[in-house]
């Protein structure tokens, strides 16, 4: 790519129409072993450790305050979790209503 070309910002043609999914995070806290994979690799930094621990003494991920609607349902936290302790679902209309997101 020439220098001139690389200065042109390229945008997806359907950017205006593209819908970013909103995910809802589910955590099976008793399975977590605090490996940090999900928290570290979440692209939108949705997760943080819980102040409390589970029965085995591990801090588990929670949705950070203010990030309730930031999950993009990429599922990376789910797929990399060695303990199958976290997964996400795409927010339903009821979920969206609960979190005050415009469902349209």
């Amino acid at each position: 790519m020439s220098e001139a070309e690389s200065n042109v910002r390229r945008e997806p043609m359907d950017l205006a129409k593209a819908q970013v999914p909103v995910g809802r995070v589910h955590i099976i806290s008793e399975r977590c072993k605090q490996c940090n994979f999900c928290i570290n690799y979440c692209p939108t930094k949705v997760l943080e450790y819980s102040p409390e621990t589970n029965a085995k003494g591990y801090h588990f991920p929670l949705v950070a305050a203010g990030k309730e609607t930031s999950c993009v349902h990429c599922r990376f936290c789910d797929l990399i979790c060695p303990e199958l302790a976290i997964f996400t679902t795409e927010m339903t209309d009821e979920d969206k209503a609960e979190f005050g997101i415009d469902g349209s």
Binding site: R24, V25, H26, I27, I28, S29, E30, R31, K33, Q34, C35, N36, F37, N40, Y41, K56, Y58, L62, V63, A64, A65, E68, F76, L79, I80, C81, P82, E83, L84, A85, F87, E98, F99
Partner: protein, 276 residues
């Protein structure tokens, strides 16, 4: 109730893929930050994506931490003796060719104790999917060096660093006749699942090396503080090169930070399978 509490309520107790796993045995025995759980997780997703019912899948493993895999999947499985996962799996694949047989085991079990079985199963092109979890040492027994330990890496039997040249597993698999060969890491979750699915659909010997952290044994001996630290090494140094031809040059040197770690789906050829 705070918003944070709200979002996880009702707290989940079941993961969507739990039906393919022995979830009643969770939390599993593996250490925090160990990559083996991620591999088992990926295998379960590949089963779900395969379109075959669970009773068409079989999982065989050998001995070691990775050998625990057979005990955590909810398909017919067998936990064989040390190094003998492949001959046991070969028996199943030959007797019941309609089954999709996957071997999940560690680098020590598959390439040292069972090394001879590996090269001959590949040579015969038996229809098996081999997932070799490579954590560069014998984790379960305390971090002894094995045939995959990088030169210079420390282990309980090499306190000053390993001096022997390790195996380059994709090169070995290709040279001995495998029809599908890949190398990924536990960070490459989607690519790994895709490779397992391709292996399941391949009539022939498939070999997937997957790098996984063993923070308890290998990590501790080599100043790799935890599982995340090793996964960060993968993230910084992995280069994807699907179809790479120069496998003989693609050794992994986990210790030398200047060397890239090449991953990818390297080989996908059609060769006469053992059973047609």
């Amino acid at each position: 109730m705070s918003a944070t509490e709200q979002i996880i309520h009702p707290a989940a107790t079941v993961h969507p893929i739990d039906n393919l796993l022995r979830a009643d045995r969770f939390p599993h025995i593996l250490c925090p930050g160990c990559g083996i759980g991620t591999v088992i997780h990926g295998y379960a997703h590949a089963i779900a994506a395969s379109g075959l019912s669970e009773d068409r899948h079989v999982c065989v493993s050998g001995i070691g931490c990775s050998g625990r895999a057979a005990g955590y999947v909810n398909v017919d499985s067998y936990h064989s003796t040390h190094g003998r996962a492949l001959p046991f799996a070969l028996g199943i694949a030959v007797h019941k060719p309609e089954l999709n047989v996957t071997v999940i085991s560690g680098d020590g079990d598959l390439t040292a104790i069972g090394g001879n079985h590996l090269i001959h199963a590949a040579r015969r092109n038996v229809n098996l999917n081999v997932i070799c979890i490579n954590n560069f040492n014998y984790g379960m027994t305390g971090g002894q060096v094995g045939p995959t330990t990088p030169v210079g890496a420390k282990g309980s039997t090499a306190p000053r660093g390993a001096v022997e040249q390790p195996f380059n597993l994709p090169y070995l698999a290709k040279a001995t006749g495998a029809a599908f060969v890949a190398r990924w890491t536990v960070l490459h979750v989607r690519e790994f699942q895709d490779a397992v699915l391709r292996a399941m659909n391949k009539n022939g010997f498939s070999f997937i090396e997957v790098l996984a952290p063993c923070p308890t044994s290998f990590g501790r001996a080599n100043n790799i503080g935890d599982g995340l630290h090793e996964v960060e090494i993968y993230r910084e140094r992995c280069v994807i090169e699907n179809g790479a031809q120069n496998l003989e040059e693609l050794d992994i040197d986990l210790i030398d930070a200047s060397k890239p770690i090449t991953v990818g789906n390297f080989v996908d050829i059609d060769r006469k399978p053992f059973i047609e």
